[in-house]
Amino acid sequence: MKISLKILLSMGLLSVATQELFAQAKPKPYTEEDFYEIKTIAIPDEIKLEAGGIAPMPDGHVAVCTRRGEVWIIENPYQLNGTKPSYTLFASGLHESLGLAYHEGSLYCTQRGELTKLTDTNADGKADIYESVANWDLSGNYHEYSYGPVFDKNGDMYLTFNVAWVGYGEGKLAKWRGWLVKVKKDGTLEPIATGLRSPAGFTVNSNGDVLYGENQGDWVGSGRITHLEKGDFAGNAGGLFWTKEPDSPLKLTKADIPDTGEPMYEAAKKVKALKLPAVWFPHALMGISTADMIEDETNGKFGPFQGQYIVFDQGQSKAMRMSLEKVNGKYQGACYPFREGFQSGTVRARWGNDGSIFVGMTSRGWGSTGKALFGIQRLVWNGRTPFEMKNVHAMPDGFEVEFTQPVNLKSAQDLASYELKSFTYKYHHQYGSPIINQEKTPLRGVIVSEDRLKVRLVMDNLRKGYIHEILASGLVNDEGQPLLHDISYYTLNDIPAGELAKITTKAVPVTPVKPATLPAKKEKVVSNAPVDTKQVAALLKKHACTSCHAEATRVVGPPFTEVAKRNYTNEQILDLVYHPKPENWPDYATEMASMTHVPKADVLKIANWINSLGKKQKPDLNKIENRD
């Protein structure tokens, strides 16, 4: 009930925004649900299905392991023709199991300290053998989560190990924390790569390559996906303690890491083993806690994105999309918004047998935009093709954007249809990073392909190692529909060689964009100024504030009404938006990132609105705070 109300409210906001953008004659814009449906799988009332792992089985059953250590097998999870699913408890008593795989008749489950093979040998539907395939040390720190297994083609398994949290990510408390390891058939662990902080999601792709998702944190300016090869160091220094072990594939030590706050791309020039992410997922703009990812190998059953990846974000309860290409032998690519609105924190995803995605969710103690504490849903393509940027390829002088439908020529040729810029993050031991070095990437011209499925953007100021944002809000298709998602972020680690486009337009001089440090416009925001709620709602959405905050309910971050109770001045709120103090909100698992890219005038308008919430009810100073 709460959820549907919330969706209605956000739709209300959308329609306000869109009425301003489009004249009445324009078609009603499509929404994500017009193409991809979220189907909820009913869970019996007494089951706390805090899904940590999902394993679809060949017979159509789906196994789910939970943070409470249970493994449930769901019969009829597709609920065909409105039928109901049926749940059987296959195993229980495991320790916070966060990964599950089906392999040759058994389920393989990762507990905190053990990879366990669960087998039902007497055909009663319950595991009777809990075989310890491999086990590893733990310190007892809660943040030492263990994930996997993911099988490769040889039947070997990969696991990832979080570092401990002791005010920063610490790997030394137990062996191989902060590592990707391979479990060989005899149960021994082979360390593969380190630098992992909170690697909740990873996959072995169709080329046999391991890709893993990282959460913003110390040494990690923003969420990202990195291709891990043997001997790689992915950035977080916690796991480097174990490179002294004889079987470590790298010898790098923490002392070798420059902790200067320069971009990771610069640091990687000095540290050979430091692996750059293939794709950055800009914090809050895309997601806030990268979770699972799966490659689309459905041959069209899931839509037009074969070979791409669907990537989930636990905190924002949503799916994103990622395209990869290899430039000079290394993966890089782009990310795109895809589908919001899952019921809880989307941790785990696996393909169902029909080309839909099972999404397992939990948010207990972690928070998420979806308000349910747990759940399982299915993401299903309904056969209609959305108008999307299908792919973005790096070019010697810009990007080639591929679309799922032909673009309207006039809109595509209009340079005003595009807004382009690039930015990056600091590489340092601190938690997260503000956006830094943001600059415009002026568009010199566009070339539209004959079939109008490709637009080549010829740009100045391409910078290696930077995230290049492509906003194409002016584009429409033949129907007059705008893009379903008009933004993508391409991580340009390398620029391919090739023929330059022939454009005669004069180059525009580069001007840095630093809205945060620009003096505020003359329009003065006085603290008792009347509040334009509609305008604020649009700003909250535009700057992705609503990804983590709601007016009066706890989402990932505190509700605005709680912020109001702190009695900050508008200027103090501005300061906190630019320089967040997570220690002010110790009950919230996810720390806020610095939002210096949001213009000061916008923040002050929002701050003024927040403080207007406080005026409605005088805070009771003596009320005991609910520290749930």
Binding site: Y130, D137, G140, G167, E583, L621, I624
Partner: protein, 610 residues
């Protein structure tokens, strides 16, 4: 990020004064049923206890005729409010009780193995009695314990009682009822904050009074006591003058206000957080006088979220950055008369509840608030997450505290009918065994579950976390403390069906490889649920030097029939020795060990009874 120091709660002694048990001098005219002995032991199947001469144990032999009221034992100590702690032991079928003020009984009874318990069972606050209520309805207002927490006959039980006496006005009219603030049996809270509307059955008098003697029932059956300690709350309390206060706004993490001017000053009846208007960025300073009634050592407790300090006569008693649920304590000897206190608290961040508490106590007084009652918020309400056991065993892995160490590869197993154990999978050893409710998983499953621990909910016996088998050069060679992964490989467990209570029930067989031999370790409930039967099977060669360590403790007493009482009668172990495989009691590192050579055997079974 600001770091607040989190202290473990200081564990203060529950009761301070010990009743000497060198003789019966502490008691009023004890009958010949009562004697002082040096040692005592029992057997869970025996209806008598066996004593040895000496001192330190109070033994009610019940050798006289039953139900002779003069066999009850009265302490010379007259008490009102009291904290009492003691150890007691009873043989099979016995019955006794501890009457506070001679009037309010906490029942002692052999309720071992009883599944349904009521207000007559061990630990119960016994019912009241009124013939006028009619036959069969005389008993009323009794309180059954929350769960059956008593141990097997012949083992020591530990009982703690926190009792509040009734109060009366000058005319003798009762103002407040008697109350059991808390009763704990073998570490399990069995009552908390229970008011008694009148005396329980068998009281010395139906009339309630401000004081009375402790009385032990001595005419129903044998019972032994030791470690009887108490604290009575009869000493004069401190009084306070009104306080002056200064309220500053701003950040004062150093507690130094320098030249800053307070926003507000004044006087108040008591220091209180209510005087701080801001949620954050303030400093409150209170100064007042404490009138100390008698020269003594006084303990002060402070609580705040943020930083602060308490000074008595300019001596710093407590200080530092703390979370408000921490009880930060300091003690100072104070002479009778007037003393000054200065209580300063600053909060320079927005999170966390505003809280300020300051308390004074000494032995013989309850904790008195110097601060106003609402100045310190109550702790958060966290729901219990309990793992329950039904007809089949329940297994649950978690971290498990073993002493102050976390065992990271531990599993707790709840067997049907209330026997449970925690087991270290890395070592193949019991961490603890318990009887009663299974598992409290709150610290693992509430919120993020940062401790990731679960804990027993019943009467617990600690074990040694040792793999029970070892190859030893000879029978005096040391038994290994811990095993490495190369010596002991945990292979997993199989849920194997066993006959139990006429049904086929699956119990876990834990599988190991120990130095090349395969070992299977299974724990089953004993037939009548007296304890846990451990079955070990191993494929060692018949001439091997394999030994089993069956028990370890400060004492191991052979009580006959291949049965031993372990660790000052904390539990029994029943072994299956033979002429070729005799058990040995030996000394090792200051502890007694019960060792059995396993040459020629392929399996071993022994029972732990508690």
């Amino acid at each position: 990020m600001k770091k607040l120091l989190f202290l473990l709660f200081p564990i203060s002694a529950f009761a301070q004064t010990e009743i000497p048990l060198n003789d019966l001098g502490a008691f009023k005219n004890p009958s010949t049923n009562w004697t002082i002995v040096g040692g005592i032991s029992g057997d869970y199947q025996a209806t008598t206890l066996t004593s040895t001469e000496g001192k330190g144990i109070l033994y009610g032999t019940a050798k006289g005729a039953k139900y002779q009221a003069n066999d009850d034992l009265f302490f010379k100590l007259e008490h009102g409010d009291i904290k009492l702690s003691l150890d007691f032991m009873i043989p099979k079928g016995s019955n006794s009780g501890v009457y506070l003020q001679g009037r309010y009984e906490v029942q002692i009874l052999d309720s071992w193995l009883k599944k349904e318990i009521n207000d007559g069972d061990c630990g119960a606050i016994y019912h009241r009695w009124d013939e006028a209520r009619g036959a069969g309805n005389e008993g009323y207002e009794g309180h059954a314990p929350r769960q059956n927490a008593v141990k097997a006959p012949g083992l020591w039980n530990h009982l703690e009682i926190d009792f509040k006496a009734p109060t009366f006005d000058a005319s003798g009219k009762k103002l407040t009822n008697a109350r059991f603030n808390k009763v704990t049996l073998n570490g399990i809270i069995i009552h908390e904050n229970i008011e008694l509307l009148g005396v329980t059955r068998g009281a010395v008098s139906p009339k309630e009074a401000a004081t009375g003697p402790i009385r032990i029932q001595g005419d129903h059956g044998p019972v032994a006591f030791k470690n009887i300690k108490y604290e009575v709350f009869d000493k004069a309390i401190a009084t306070f003058s009104p306080t002056t206060y200064e309220y500053y706004q701003g950040k004062y993490a150093s507690l130094q206000t320098g030249n800053a001017k307070p926003v507000k000053t004044g006087t108040a009846a008591q220091p209180t957080m209510k005087l701080a208007e801001a949620k954050a960025d303030f400093l409150l300073k209170f100064q007042g006088k404490i009138i100390i009634p008698e020269t003594d050592n006084y303990t002060f407790t402070t609580n705040w979220t943020g930083t602060g300090a308490l000074l008595i006569d300019n001596d710093t008693i407590t200080k530092g950055d703390h979370w408000y649920s921490e009880n930060v304590q300091g003690t100072k000897k104070l002479s009778a008369g007037e003393h000054t206190y200065t209580l300063i608290h600053a909060k320079d961040f927005g999170w966390g509840p505003k809280a300020l508490g300051c308390f004074i106590e000494r032995i013989g007084t309850a904790k008195q608030g110097i601060t106003e009652r609402t100045s310190l918020p109550e702790p958060e309400a966290t729901p219990l997450i309990e793992v329950k056991v039904g007809q089949e065993p329940v297994l649950q892995r978690s971290f498990v505290f073993y002493g102050d160490k976390k065992k990271t590869h531990a599993i707790s197993v709840g067997l049907p009918y209330g026997l449970n154990y925690s087991y270290d999978l890395n070592q193949g050893g019991y961490l603890q065994l318990w009887r009663g409710k299974f598992l409290d998983a709150t610290q693992m499953w509430h919120d993020r579950g940062e401790p990731q621990t679960s804990s027993p909910m019943g009467t617990t016996v600690n074990s040694n976390d040792k793999f029970p088998l070892a190859f030893l050069a000879n029978e005096s060679a040391a038994f290994p403390d811990t095993l490495t992964k190369s010596d002991l490989k945990y292979k997993g467990y199989r849920l194997q069906k066993y006959d139990f209570a006429g049904q086929q029930i699956a119990f876990p067989d834990f599988m190991y490889e120990y130095k090349g031999i395969k070992v299977k370790d299974t724990s089953l409930p004993m037939a009548n649920n007296e304890g846990i039967s451990r079955r070990l099977s191993f494929d060692a060669g018949s001439d091997s030097k394999l030994y089993a360590l069956l028990a370890e403790g400060i004492t191991i007493t052979n009580i006959g029939n291949n049965r031993f009482a372990v660790d000052n009668q904390q539990y029994y172990v029943q072994v299956n020795a033979s002429e070729t495989n005799k058990v040995i009691v030996r000394e090792s590192n200051g502890k007694k060990q019960l060792l059995m050579p396993l040459a020629g055997l392929k399996e071993l079974s022994y029972q732990l009874i508690f």
